[in-house]
Amino acid sequence: MSDIREATFDDYEEIMELMQRFEIPYKTKKEWKGIWEYNPMIADDHISWTIGWVVVNDEGRVVGYLGNIPLVYELNGKRLIAAVAHAWVVDEEFRKYSVLLINSYFNQRNVDMLLNTTGGNSVTIKIFSAYKAKRAPVDQYDVARFCVTNYKGFLTALLKKKEFLCIILLSHLYHLQCGVLIN
């Protein structure tokens, strides 16, 4: 019988296998663990945090996953803890258990708000609305907006995403040349 439990770092391999089956970007174990281990909220405050939940089949193998990432915000001087949903993925055969993952996410305690930054389609909006989630007051959900503070880093990340590696090299060279000129 399938069941749900809290995820642990030991689930890494099976979670990544699952994510790769659905072409969700792969993370090394260091990167994945780092989401929580190097998270300032956990590292500085030493709070206990559920990193996510997994659905396991009757052999105990991971067939579903939902990550749970902590973020800290501040409003009017008050510190607010947000839980951000990450990588909701379930093998097709076990999709009916998806609801257990989302229930666990919405029913977690000790958080001030729940954030979903990627659920833009009409069905996920319906699901989140069922939990009385409110939509952020923006006109468009399918357009990403960036507030760039680190231009070079942003450009590099963007080009990397677009796989223009040679252009990255060129941008570095250009940057070096600019530096020389300024000096």
């Binding site: 019988m1 069941d3 659905v55 009916k96 258990y97 609801v99 257990l100 319906k126 699901i127």
Partner: protein, 84 residues
């Protein structure tokens, strides 16, 4: 008891009509996802959440695993309503 069953059936039928946005839907015991084009995994989540909300219940893994069709859903709901 028949009235209770009928009431549960009506409430479930309303949920189906609402979730799938189709007032013509009439549920039947053997009904499965095969019978409604839009009934995919995400809609199934929406459906289960709507059922949980309407009947003020929380289904566990075992109960979700046993949901094979509308008939099994009705039986499960009848048990919950009986328990009060």
């Amino acid at each position: 008891m028949e009235k209770v069953k009928e009431n549960i059936r009506n409430r479930l039928n309303n949920i189906f009509q609402d979730v799938f946005d189709d007032e013509k839907i009439e549920i039947f015991e053997e009904m499965t996802a095969e019978d409604i084009d839009e009934w995919d995994s995400l809609m199934h989540v929406t459906l289960v959440l709507a059922v949980e909300k309407e009947f003020d219940i929380r289904l566990n893994a075992s109960e979700i695993g046993k949901l094979q069709n509308v008939g099994t859903m009705l039986i499960l709901l009848e048990k919950y309503v009986e328990k009060g």
